[in-house]
């Protein structure tokens, strides 16, 4: 292996795959990044066995030569040192050459590193994916869907399935659901898929999706999503993203989504967020219960923190229809749900003081957030 590659482009690729590399792995070889030079270009792979990221830098792009290949070959380099060396390289270009005994010479400007690697044969095989279960959608849409749902997934391992995001596809419609049992997010969107493609009970770890969301930054293309029984694969032009799926059965969430309400409130989302942030100022350790009182002409939030103090605020409401309601909830859940609506106006439907209430953007039915109240 012997190449000369543009430093900027190479650094970007190394950083992307390094996101999947964990220093705490049971498989020592996975602390490294695999580097493979073939006729198409340079392929970098990083993995923590749950999540695998592969980025390809083509030799040529738009008639511009990105990599000058002298010799093909492959090697595994320790991610910890390799990423830093690439980042701090002084020159515009990097020269990588595999010398004898798995040692890679990395030269840039006036600096030359000799880094010990591991034989590329040691690297685990990528998961194989049956390409039948496939759909396409725009990278930006997928990113938005992740952003609007993944935050609601559980962080505690008590119910492992809930640490993931449920994906199901039916009639070309993709539904993503996440819940930690205290709140729930659901987003649906149209995709390009064959009529015959449908699946249910695909649970993707929310950590993988958050990582994917970052990888898709600035990606304007359409992506392909492939599903097998144990893996998810997301493909873009130069990127392959694999994630293990979670075992277990995701609870049936359709039946807990309310369809009739005792009261429906419409508010300016930002005004509500501002008021809740003020009410949360008295919060300690992130758990803060806020009480909301809704009447046709009046909306009030109040909150009391023992030993700290209390706050009351009247909020301008656009509209409230229904009976008077008094409800308490965790302000953090409400804030996260409101922000995820990404809409100027929010519609909040109440079903009672002790049962879940639903938030959705006004005039939009493909997104909903459900929050279970706190009993006081």
């Amino acid at each position: 292996m012997h190449i000369v590659v543009e430093q900027n482009r190479f650094q970007e690729a190394v950083n992307q795959v390094a996101k999947a590399v964990s220093s705490r792995t049971t498989i020592p070889v996975l602390t490294g990044i695999k580097l493979e030079v073939n006729r198409e270009g340079c392929v970098l792979t990083g993995s923590d066995s749950d999540m695998t990221i592969q980025v390809t830098i083509p030799t040529h792009e738009n008639d511009k030569e990105l990599i000058k290949v002298d010799k093909l070959g492959s090697i595994i380099l320790p991610a910890k040192y390799f990423t830093e060396i690439v980042k701090k390289a002084p020159g515009q270009q990097l020269e990588l050459e595999l010398t004898a005994h798995n040692v890679v010479k990395i030269g840039s400007g006036s600096a030359v590193f000799q880094l010990n690697g591991i034989d590329a044969e040691e690297y685990p095989q990528l998961p194989s994916i049956n390409e039948n279960q496939m759909f396409r959608l725009s990278a930006q849409l997928f990113k938005t869907m992740i952003r609007q749902t993944a935050f609601a997934a559980a962080t505690s391992e008590a119910r492992p399935q809930l640490t993931g995001v449920l994906m199901k596809l039916e009639n070309k419609t993709l539904t993503m659901v996440a819940t930690d049992s205290h709140r729930l997010s659901r987003r649906t969107a149209q995709t390009e898929a064959d009529e015959s493609v449908q699946f249910d009970q695909v649970i993707v770890p929310s950590r993988s999706l958050s990582e994917l969301q970052r990888l898709l930054d600035g990606e304007e293309t359409t992506i392909e999503v492939l599903i097998s029984s144990h893996q998810l694969l997301v493909k873009t032009d130069h990127l392959l993203f694999f994630s293990r799926l979670l075992d277990g059965t995701y609870p049936d969430t359709d039946r807990i989504i309310p369809d009739s309400f005792k009261g429906t409130l419409t508010v300016e989302t930002q005004a509500m967020i501002n008021a809740l942030e003020r009410a949360s100022l008295l919060a300690r350790d992130g758990k803060h219960v806020v009480k909301l009182n809704c009447q046709p002409d009046r909306l009030e939030i109040n909150s009391t923190a023992p030993e700290v103090g209390q706050v009351v605020e009247q909020i301008d409401l656009v509209r409230y229809e229904g009976e008077e309601i008094q409800i308490a909830f965790n302000a953090k859940y409400m804030l996260e749900a409101l922000r995820a609506l990404e809409s100027d106006r929010a519609e909040i439907g109440f079903t009672g003081a002790l049962s879940p209430f639903m938030l959705k953007p006004v005039d939009q039915d493909d997104l909903l957030q459900l929050i279970v109240p706190v009993r006081t």
Partner: protein
């Protein structure tokens, strides 16, 4: 302003209560001891007469009987002692509003601001307290007086308990003269192991420790080293806080079994009983918990075997069967089939139950709560054994027996 803190300790508490209750025992050497049949045959308390024969607290009953052949053995009545202890606490509140029960027979009282209402000197006030307790309960109190809690405690343990009056003062002026010559193991907070380590460093008396540079101690034991040094120098800023017992961090129950349990079926019974006890007490204190831990000790004391492990519950709860599910899973993960002598269950990560986050999937919550409320009410009214699970009536069950006990001894 220098504080005035008392530590009030009751002499041979359990034994004294028994003697006060039964005057025919007054001039006999007596001990309060558990039932050897049920593995609780140790001396819980010995009266001064019995102690003169060499009887010691915590030794086996048979040993005591050898030392003192005409010893009268009284079965413990824990409920009575708890009541007496509460009564003493309430008496103490007539002297100051700052009373902190420290153990069943010890109480800290801060008299800084009320002394002038009671007497001219602290010693006079101590005499008054002794008299009041004797008149009300017929038991003798020993009182240590100091400018803070550790000095009051050590005044009581090392001096008041040894003099006729049962009152001793330890202040900063007399500290060097009276406390420092004592061996280092006499210092509050120094156990056998720590004393051994200190002696190996050449620190044999409290005085040696007080004059050791604090940095040396801090380097070796961290904050605890600094605390030791402060204690040796008679410095302690901790307040007498009546609330220190009211806010719990965890709620746990533990039982030593009357015989070794080997079968899972039997162990499950006591595990369930413990979970029910823990959940009931959590409900009484208005708590839900997020973490459950299970501790087990093997039967053979010479080869210590066992575990203490914890896990997160899916939801904060105080519902017995939910605790049991988690406890059983933990137990099965860590138990390798050896016979068991004792077992305990603890709920921690406590939060107020009254402000509870409801959940999407646990809809029968309200149902569980209604059931618990009724069960608690029945037990409250008719006693702990009024309503039991059927398995508790099998040979392995301990709930019935435990309903009659406090701290492993009969009420």
């Amino acid at each position: 302003m220098e504080r005035i803190i008392f530590l009030v300790d009751i002499q041979s508490f359990f034994a004294s209560i028994e003697k006060a209750d039964n005057p025919s025992l007054r001039d006999k050497p007596i001990v309060v001891a558990g039932d050897p049949e049920r593995r609780s045959g140790v001396i819980l308390a010995a009266c001064p007469l019995a102690k003169r024969w060499g009887v010691e607290t915590a030794e086996a009953l048979w040993e005591a009987q050898q030392k003192c052949p005409h010893l009268t053995v009284v079965k413990p009545r824990m409920q009575k002692y708890v009541q007496a202890s509460l009564e003493i606490t309430n008496l103490m509140y007539t002297f100051s509003d700052l009373v902190e029960p420290y153990s069943i027979d010890e109480q800290f009282i801060d008299l800084t601001h009320s002394l002038h209402l009671l007497a001219k000197t602290p010693a006079q006030a101590a005499l008054l307290i002794q008299k009041t307790i004797y008149q009300r309960l017929g038991v003798k109190a020993r009182i240590g007086i100091g400018p803070n809690k550790v000095l009051a405690k050590m005044a009581c343990d090392h001096f008041a308990k040894k003099n006729e009056r049962g009152i001793a003062v330890l202040d900063r002026e007399t500290l060097a003269e009276r406390l420092w010559p004592l061996p280092v193991r006499a210092l509050f907070g120094v156990g056998r192991r720590l004393a051994h380590h200190l002696e190996r460093m050449g620190i044999r008396t409290i005085g040696h420790l007080a004059q050791t540079p604090v940095t040396v101690l801090k380097k070796r034991w961290g904050i605890n080293g600094e605390r030791l040094w402060l204690t040796a120098n008679g410095i302690d800023h901790s307040p007498v806080s009546p609330a220190s017992h009211s806010r719990s961090k965890s709620i746990g129950h533990h039982m030593t079994l009357p015989r070794d349990y080997m079968a899972l079926e039997e162990i499950k019974v006591v595990l369930l009983e413990l979970c029910e006890e823990v959940s009931r007490r959590s409900r009484m204190k208005d708590y839900v918990g997020h973490t459950i831990s299970v501790g087990v000790r093997g039967a053979r004391l010479d080869t210590p075997i066992g575990f203490y492990r914890q896990t997160q519950l899916p939801e904060k709860t105080n519902h017995g069967p939910d605790l049991f599910q988690a406890a059983l899973t933990l137990f099965n993960q860590h138990w390798s089939g050896y016979p068991i002598r004792s077992i305990g269950v603890t709920l921690s990560g406590l939060e107020r139950a009254s402000e509870q986050q409801l959940t999407l999937f646990d809809q029968p919550l309200v149902k569980k709560e209604r059931l618990n409320r009724v069960v608690d009410q029945i037990k409250e009214r008719y006693g702990d054994s009024a309503l039991l699970r059927a398995v508790s009536l099998t040979g392995a069950g301990q709930a019935r027996e435990r309903a009659q006990k406090i701290g492993g001894h009969y009420k």
